[in-house]
């Protein structure tokens, strides 16, 4: 990239992720940033490209018993169990403040059945202030013996299709990395009508408490996040970018500007930051600034020019 350096404010930071228009490519990941107001003492959530709010289900969920989290080398496991107040309370209790703050909101939905995904999509379709739907498909399908929706291409196709036919909003399925062939899953999502892909959700793992001689998490298994999963996320995004022509919201282990650059270079049009916020609440803002500076230094008039740069021969 031999271009002349630019002034940072000359870089166009805006991105369009399959119809989700964002002022910059940096989002906070679902479940790590609550409903946008928890970190209000640290920065204004309206500065973000988007806030992806905590996963929402039809009915309220109490979540799993504690312990729910455990730190692991370069990461953490969580088994929150989708604690949330349900879709109606989300709309009535949290959306007004998010709207008032001018936040670009992406709702994240999780169903127990195919039909529930459809109902959630329909319910959120005309709610003012919601800019897109992210589908958490790492949930057990109750009717299919608890098999995760996201691990079977046919079910992925059906979920995406169901949601698409119930909403006008951009639909962004969030792929589970706990699969053998991520490209097959991504292709199924594309056929189902996805507007973009989010990748990756957490990797299933566990930890053992040797003092109690028991699994550490009450739920036994939990989702691994943080720097430990970054290489897996990069590899999967690289593969999908080559085979599937959908914009990608990339994330998994981003804790620095450099990490975010790597995600964009392998093919992410935008990035999500989760666990990294726990470490440094200012990280999302640092990443926005850092991406802009990098682009300016390399003479890129638009941040979009970085996307997939690592694939060039």
């Amino acid at each position: 990239m031999p271009n002349q350096p630019l002034k940072p404010d000359k870089v166009d930071m805006s991105v369009n992720l399959g119809g989700l228009q964002m002022k910059n490519p940096v989002c906070t990941a679902s479940g790590t940033f609550g409903y946008g107001s928890e970190y209000i003492d640290y920065f204004d959530p309206a500065l973000l490209g988007a806030v992806i709010v905590k996963g929402t289900t039809m009915e309220p969920r109490a979540g799993n018993p504690p312990p729910r989290i455990v730190e692991t080398p370069a990461g953490m496991l969580n088994a929150i169990g989708l604690e949330n107040p349900g879709v109606e309370a989300f709309i009535s209790q949290y959306m007004p403040e998010l709207r008032a703050q001018g936040v670009t909101v992406v709702a994240n939905i999780a169903g127990n059945t195919l039909e529930e995904y459809g109902q959630l999509a329909q319910r959120l379709d005309h709610v003012e202030g919601i800019a897109a739907l992210e589908l958490n498909i790492s949930c057990p399908n109750v009717k299919q013996g608890g098999l995760q929706f996201g691990t079977d291409p046919d079910m992925v196709y059906q979920v995406v299709n169901m949601v698409k036919s119930n909403t006008q909003l951009p639909v962004i399925p969030k792929l589970s990395p706990n699969v053998t062939d991520i490209v097959a899953i991504a292709s199924a999502a594309q056929e189902g009508g996805a507007d973009a892909l989010a990748m990756i959700n957490t990797l299933m793992g566990m930890a053992v408490d040797i003092d109690r001689c028991r699994p550490t998490l009450a739920n036994i298994f939990g989702g691994l996040s943080g720097p430990a999963i970054k290489p897996v996320a990069l590899r999967m995004i690289y593969q999908v970018y080559q085979q599937v022509k959908l914009p990608i919201l990339g994330g998994g282990g981003i804790v620095s500007v450099r990490d975010a650059l790597e995600f964009m270079m392998v093919g992410a049009s935008a990035v999500s930051i989760g666990t990294g916020i726990f470490v440094d609440p200012y990280l999302p803002c640092q990443v926005i600034d850092g991406l802009q500076e990098y682009a300016a230094q390399h003479g890129l008039a638009s941040i979009k020019e970085l996307v997939g740069a690592a694939h060039q021969e």
Partner: protein
């Protein structure tokens, strides 16, 4: 308002075989500090360990603009903290969480602390004393060499009785046994407790027997510290569903509000 500040280490001294006392210059955080609240520390900038570590406000000096922490070295994070030297900086978020409240007028404040659980009770004692509440502190540790906060309480001028198992302090035995012994029956007590959970459960049981009220300070593993991740859940007592967040709804709870674990974790 809580904030994030790069705090200068003024001192970081070993005070017993496993405990350290660290004073930090945190002028932006100090004005908002209330007893019972905690700070969330990034022990180094290497992302190893990754998550922040929650530590109670042990003491706050509003004039000097400093906070003091008392911590026990138990693992990776606290080991890393213990290696910090004066003139280095550490990244501190805070103050976080719900603070202790003050007792109803006319009641004695009885502070029952065990081990490093004494930490939040020192700053509480200071503030209670400033507000002229009658205060008594019951402080228990395994051995007398671990009574690292004793001098500080005595300097405050609050009545402090120490219980250790080695018999080298005021009372030999458990601090909870001391609690029953101290009961005068003449004054109404408002209890504050922090320490191992079986100890706190025992204090709650004592309170229940005598119809007293009070507050506990709980610990739970934390990621965000601000109520965003829902990682620090604890069950409310007498409730089939519904968890509270220790970082945001606590760490201070009513003595009867949450289920206490009798078995050591």
């Amino acid at each position: 308002m809580p904030t994030l500040e790069s705090a200068l280490v003024i001192s970081n001294n070993q005070v017993s075989s496993h405990m350290f006392e660290m004073e930090l210059a945190a002028p932006q955080i100090v004005p908002f500090c209330e007893p019972g609240q905690f700070v969330h520390l990034r022990v180094n900038s290497l992302n190893d360990p990754l998550l922040r570590r929650p530590l109670s406000l042990y003491d706050v000096d509003k004039k000097r603009g400093t906070i003091t922490l008392l911590y026990k070295v138990v693992g990776k994070g606290t080991t890393s903290l213990a290696q910090l030297h004066a003139d280095e900086y550490v990244d501190v978020m805070g103050p976080l969480g719900r603070p202790f409240s003050y007792p109803p007028a006319g009641q004695w404040a009885i502070l029952v602390g065990g081990g490093v659980g004494i930490a939040p009770l020192l700053y509480l004692a200071r503030r209670l004393k400033e507000k002229n509440y009658p205060v008594r502190v019951l402080y228990g540790t395994q051995s007398s060499s671990e009574l690292v906060a004793l001098d500080r309480f005595r300097q405050l001028g609050v009545q402090t009785v120490a219980a250790t198992m080695d018999g080298e302090a005021d009372y030999q035995g458990l601090v909870t046994d001391l609690l029953y012994q101290q009961l005068s029956g003449q004054e109404v007590e408002y209890l504050y407790t922090c320490g191992p959970e079986p100890m706190m459960a025992e204090v709650a049981e004592y309170a229940r027997q005598y119809g007293l009220n009070g507050e506990v300070s709980l610990e739970e593993h934390m990621a965000c510290g601000v109520g965003a991740c829902l990682g620090c859940a604890r069950k409310l007592k007498d409730s089939d569903e519904g968890y509270v967040k220790v970082c945001k709804d606590g760490p201070v709870f009513g003595l009867y509000e949450v289920e206490l674990d009798l078995a050591p974790r």
